[in-house]
């Protein structure tokens, strides 16, 4: 496509709508008089635009204004209702916020207490005791009892504490 054809096609819609300056419109008209391809393009644009008239307009309901005004009445009632609700709503929101803050505080205290105990610093004495406790946890108490009982009966000697397998 030649440069003049490209230019004309880019402004054809505006030309059809009468939206070009007179001098530009005249240049388009002169080109169209000479160029069959652009005239064909123009016809397609024109015809497709006219086809849009085939889509029928909307049916307009006769009672629209009455229905609209009835909806406005509903809207006003809703606004009034909302206005009446508003103070209660505000109070409810304040209460909810206070309850939320209180719950948050309680949760915070509980979590701090729990993690605080778990990581509580240990004194040297407690440390010593806990080491013994962990040693004692490793001792089989039943074995120890059997040894002590055997020692109480000197003629028998220490009993075999293992299972009789």
């Amino acid at each position: 496509m030649s440069a003049p054809c490209q230019w004309v096609r880019s402004v054809l819609t505006a030309w059809l709508d009468g939206e070009l300056k007179p001098s530009t419109a005249e240049a388009v008209r002169r080109h169209l008089a000479e160029c069959e391809a652009c005239r064909a393009h123009l016809n397609l644009l024109r015809e497709s635009w006219r086809l849009l008239d085939e889509a029928p307009p909307a049916p307009v309901p006769a009672e629209f204004t009455e229905r609209m005004m009835a909806r406005i009445v509903e809207e006003k009632e809703l606004s009034r209702f909302a206005a009446r609700l508003r103070p209660h709503e505000r109070r409810r929101k304040v209460l909810a916020s206070v309850a939320g803050i209180a719950a948050g505080l309680l949760l915070g205290i509980a979590v701090y207490g729990w993690t605080g105990l778990a990581t509580k610093p240990v004194s040297p004495v407690e440390d010593e005791v806990s080491r013994h406790v962990s040693f004692l946890e490793d001792v089989d108490l039943l074995d120890e009892i059997a040894v002590i009982q055997a020692m109480d009966r000197p003629d028998e000697g220490p009993a075999d504490t293992t299972d009789g397998a």
């Binding site: 939206e19 015809e47 635009w49 086809l51 008239d53 085939e54 889509a55 909307a58 204004t65 809207e75």
Partner: protein
């Protein structure tokens, strides 16, 4: 994401103020703003056909068009305290109308995307889902119905801004400057939007031009 059409400030607003001064609807809106409810009723009475007509061009469903037109007037009603007569009343009203219509189209598109597998398999019975034009409609009616459908489809498949520009230009007879004011862009941008839109429409309706099916009423 919903993008509302917004009027930009500056030259459009100045041009709008000039139009607003001689606009009876603006005076009705100002009277309504001062508490005169009858002025709002008159606004509805004077403009509802245009609003319904415009919504219908986007939505293509008469019942939905009425509901959405009510939504438009409801927004006007709610905006009475913030309304400023910076433009022609129709410019403002059509901007609201375009926004309400495009929002509805977006919701529809989302609902379509949300169709479940169960709903899809419900259509598995086949032919009952298709309109039986051939047995019920005479040839002329069939062609006309098909043509109307194709025309609506061609417009609805345009990108949103092109669609709005086409509807305002074609069905409301708005100039490029008025469209620019309504959708908040420059006149040059409208020129470009309409050029692309008309090119798209030409391509989409080509079959109906060439076969002459659209020529019954196109002379």
């Amino acid at each position: 994401m919903a993008k509302a059409i917004a009027v930009s400030a500056g030259s459009y607003e100045q041009a709008g103020r000039r139009g607003a001064a001689a606009d009876y609807d603006v005076s009705l809106m100002l009277r309504f703003q001062k508490g005169e409810e009858m002025a709002f009723q008159e606004l509805v009475q004077r403009n509802h056909a245009r609003v319904i007509g415009l919504v219908y061009r986007f939505i293509s469903d008469a019942s939905d068009a009425e509901d959405l037109a009510q939504e438009v007037f409801l927004r006007i009603y709610r905006a009475r305290h913030s309304y400023k007569p910076t433009a022609k009343f129709s410019t403002w009203m059509f901007r609201i109308t375009a926004n309400v219509s495009l929002n509805a189209l977006r919701s529809r598109a989302n609902r379509k995307d949300d169709v479940s597998i169960d709903q899809v398999t419900d259509f598995g019975d086949g032919p009952r889902a298709l309109p039986d034009h051939d047995t019920k409609m005479p040839d002329h009616d069939l062609h006309q119905a098909e043509l109307e459908e194709k025309v609506r489809e061609a417009v609805s498949e345009l990108p949103e801004k092109q669609q709005v520009a086409v509807v305002l230009n074609k069905y409301e007879g708005m100039s490029y400057a008025e469209i620019a004011q309504t959708i908040g862009c420059s006149t040059m941008a409208v020129k470009s939007l309409l050029a692309r839109a008309r090119d798209n429409l030409k391509d989409r309706l080509l079959l109906y031009i060439r076969t002459g099916r659209g020529r019954q009423r196109v002379t």
